[in-house]
């Protein structure tokens, strides 16, 4: 017999005390969603089951007892830290869920500049960690657009990636050790060592689990010397995305590691670069690190791009200024809400990846289909922002006018059809449907196709670590109804 809503709250109050158990109606409503449903939020229409409570945990032990309570009573738990997710991962898809908010676990435990690693609780904001490190001459090397909002637990849980990934890697390349709590209350710590070959790398069960297997309570990440004085900025305009992909590939294949390597199409580029690149693609590189390496990387970029006549160099200051204003802070989120409400025009993104031989085809076919098939589209464009030796990502950006809909129809009339075109075409070509936002709850219908014959590994992990199905149900794996 499942517990009633009142019994869930009563149980949580017994464990944590009344002050840490939030049942305010508006807080609960806002905690039933993330930025995937930002239009519903702006309209004050909440369509997801409202959670029974939001609990503010302050220690790993508290997380452990809450999870144990939920596991014993089969109550869905949604782990949360910075609340900046974009793919529905924080939606409470099951009645009477508990949102376990770790943003109060915000102790920066240690900055170890000898072993070059920093340990933080899950609720430490990345920006705060980064600012503290920079004051001492170090950096995490992690710089996602959500840096002012996101916190360490959520960043690791979603396999986040930052704008400097081509040099520093994604969060999976940065995490050294980790502490997580499993549904049965088990606290597991993976120690901080340079490398190990003692069986599979079990960090990867936790990194990217999106709260569907366990709750991340502490992370240790690598740190790097911070040398912004050596940064070199390069910007070029060009005619074709295909040329841009070729250049990105050449830079990677020749073995260079610019921290930023980005290619914008004209539509997406117009949003950022209309003051210097009207109707053009834009290619951007930043070389950083020790002076000699930054300069060598910069010279190589100039040489490689110099072979392509269609590329015209622009003033480096244009790129530096753009880069300084790229991130999303709370003020920008608030401004966006007003803009959406006034214009009834809203934008989202879907990010995929593919090898070099398919990425341009994915880009072209998705743009073409969305332009032709989706009504009321005002912008469809995209950029590549994370490149690898074997391929790159494509970050589709789309805006549409909301015409003749109720708030809850925004997703079904526009967002789902656009996202499905991008995912379908990417999977058909052999790419991955999620590059760095995570699966969340709205791409789960493609998850078997994404994994193919390796799906049983994922399914087995879920069964093994969350046998009673209490961890963020509907995330990564669809709810079986």
């Amino acid at each position: 017999m499942p517990l009633t809503r009142e019994q869930v709250v009563e149980g949580l109050v017994k464990i944590l005390g009344v002050e840490k158990v939030i049942t305010d109606e508006q807080v609960l409503k806002e905690s039933s969603i993330d930025r995937f449903r930002k239009y519903e939020d702006i309209c004050g229409v909440y369509t997801q089951p409202i959670p029974a409570a939001v609990v503010n945990v302050e220690s790993t032990e508290e997380v452990s007892v809450v999870l144990k309570f939920a596991n014993e009573n089969i109550i869905n738990v949604v782990p949360r830290t910075g609340h900046s997710a974009t793919e529905g991962g924080l939606e409470t898809a099951v009645e009477n869920s508990i949102v376990v908010d770790g943003s109060g676990m915000n102790r920066l435990i240690k900055i170890d500049t000898y072993n070059m690693q920093a340990t933080a609780e899950c609720g430490v904001s990345l920006e705060e960690l980064e600012n503290k490190l920079r004051k001492q001459g170090y950096t995490t090397g992690h710089s996602p657009q959500s840096k002012p909002l996101a916190q360490m637990g959520g960043l690791v849980a979603t396999r986040s990636i930052g704008q400097l990934s081509t040099l520093y890697g994604g969060i999976e390349d940065m995490v050294v050790g980790i502490e997580a709590v499993f549904p049965n209350g088990q606290i597991s710590r993976i120690k901080n060592v340079p490398r190990r070959a003692a069986g599979p790398d079990i960090r990867h069960i936790i990194i990217g689990n999106e709260g569907a297997l366990c709750y991340i309570t502490e992370v240790t990440v690598k740190i790097f010397k911070y040398m912004p004085e050596n940064n070199l900025f390069y910007g070029y305009t060009l005619e074709n995305m295909k040329t841009g992909f070729e250049i990105l590939r050449e830079v990677m294949v020749e073995g260079y590691k610019p921290s930023v390597a980005r290619l914008y199409d004209p539509e997406d580029g117009a949003y950022h670069f209309s003051h210097f690149a009207d109707d053009k693609c834009v290619l951007i590189f930043v070389a950083e690190g020790p002076k000699a390496i930054a300069e060598a990387t910069g010279r190589a970029i100039e040489e490689i791009v110099g072979k392509y006549d269609e590329c015209k160099r622009v003033d480096s200051q244009l790129i530096k200024r753009w880069f300084d204003n790229l991130n999303w802070d709370p003020a920008k989120v608030a401004e966006e809400r007003v803009e959406i409400a006034e214009t009834q025009n809203i934008g989202f993104t879907t990010e995929v990846s593919g090898n070099w031989d398919i990425i341009n085809d994915i880009y072209e076919v998705c743009i073409e289909r969305i332009r032709n098939e989706i009504p009321d589209i005002t912008l469809i464009g995209g950029h590549s922002s994370h490149s690898y030796i074997n391929g790159t990502n494509m970050y589709f950006v789309y805006y549409y006018n909301l015409v003749d809909i109720t708030p809850e129809e925004e997703i079904t009339k526009y967002h789902y059809p656009i996202q499905d075109i991008i995912v379908e075409e990417t999977l058909k070509a052999g790419g991955s449907m999620c590059h760095h936002h995570g699966v969340g709850k709205h791409r789960t219908h493609f998850i078997k196709e994404e994994y193919g014959s390796s799906y049983h590994i994922l399914e087995t992990l879920k069964k093994a670590f969350d046998p009673r199905g209490i961890m963020n149900m509907g995330t990564i794996l669809p709810i079986k109804r």
Partner: protein, 259 residues
């Protein structure tokens, strides 16, 4: 947003803004959206309405005019200018009023109250004066009324005033509650936004003599950035009650007593 380090005045007393993306200033954006809403309403009544957008400046501005074409403006016109008229609203007003008098007659002229660059706040009033039309300032809403009248809401000292105004008139849009303009669809951009922008040269408006007069009357000597910094104080106290007491005694009590 131009960063502090880029706010550099060069030898021509200009500030290089080429490093940042241009946007419509908020007053102009409000004015355009009000115009479009008025047009929607009037068209709904099957009354013909003809919208003309006019700007003065260089080719970079064409992108905004193309957007207005996509939003179904009937005419988009740029008066090409390379002179520094940032602080000469008389020139801007002269050009607009001459265009309306001699080239393309209008019933209503709707303008943002001030531009971001000159911040003069005079152009709408000067246009009205030259044309000898009434001018309503701080407009926050415009609605259709009868064929030759509009219902105009504007902010006045101590309140909000709604009045019926006979056209022709000049409306200067101020701090309207809505400051964003609608966004055209890709289809409309393709269908309507590709039209060529009409371009006239500012020299065709006989500004030479007026330019000389204005420059004799008013010379730009220097530019200085106005600082808008705010100061914050963190109240220290052992308990919330103690902090609240300090807040009241030190910062609120005197102000509240004056109310």
């Amino acid at each position: 947003m131009l960063s502090n380090e880029d706010w550099v005045v060069d030898s021509n007393l200009s500030i290089d803004v080429s490093f940042v993306k241009n946007i419509l200033n908020c007053f102009d954006e409000s004015a355009l959206e009000m115009t479009l809403k008025l047009s929607d309403y009037v068209k709904g009544l099957n009354i013909p309405i003809n919208l003309t957008a006019l700007t003065i400046g260089d080719k970079k501005l064409d992108t905004y005019l193309k957007t207005l074409y996509a939003l179904r403006f009937d005419k988009a016109l740029r008066i090409n200018n390379n002179e520094d008229i940032r602080f000469l609203p008389q020139i801007v007003a002269h050009v607009i009023s001459q265009y309306v008098k001699e080239i393309n007659k209008q019933d209503v002229i709707i303008l943002g109250r001030q531009s971001g660059e000159g911040d003069n706040g005079k152009t709408p009033l000067l246009v009205a004066e030259i044309l000898k039309w009434p001018c309503i300032t701080q407009v926050i809403n415009i609605e259709a009324d009868k064929e030759d009248t509009l219902k105009v809401t504007n902010m006045v000292d101590g309140g909000i005033l709604t009045q019926i105004i006979r056209t022709p008139c000049v409306l200067s849009v101020g701090n309207a509650p809505n400051s964003y303009m609608r966004v055209p669809t890709l289809r409309d951009k393709m269908k309507y936004g590709k039209r060529e922008i009409d371009v006239l040269e500012i020299d065709e408006f006989n500004i030479k003599a007026l330019l000389d007069t204005c420059r004799n009357e008013c010379e730009l000597k220097s530019l200085e950035k106005i600082s808008h910094e705010r100061q914050g104080v963190i109240i220290e106290g052992k308990t919330p009650a103690e902090k609240a007491r300090i807040l009241y005694d030190s910062y609120l009590k005197e102000r509240l007593e004056k109310l």
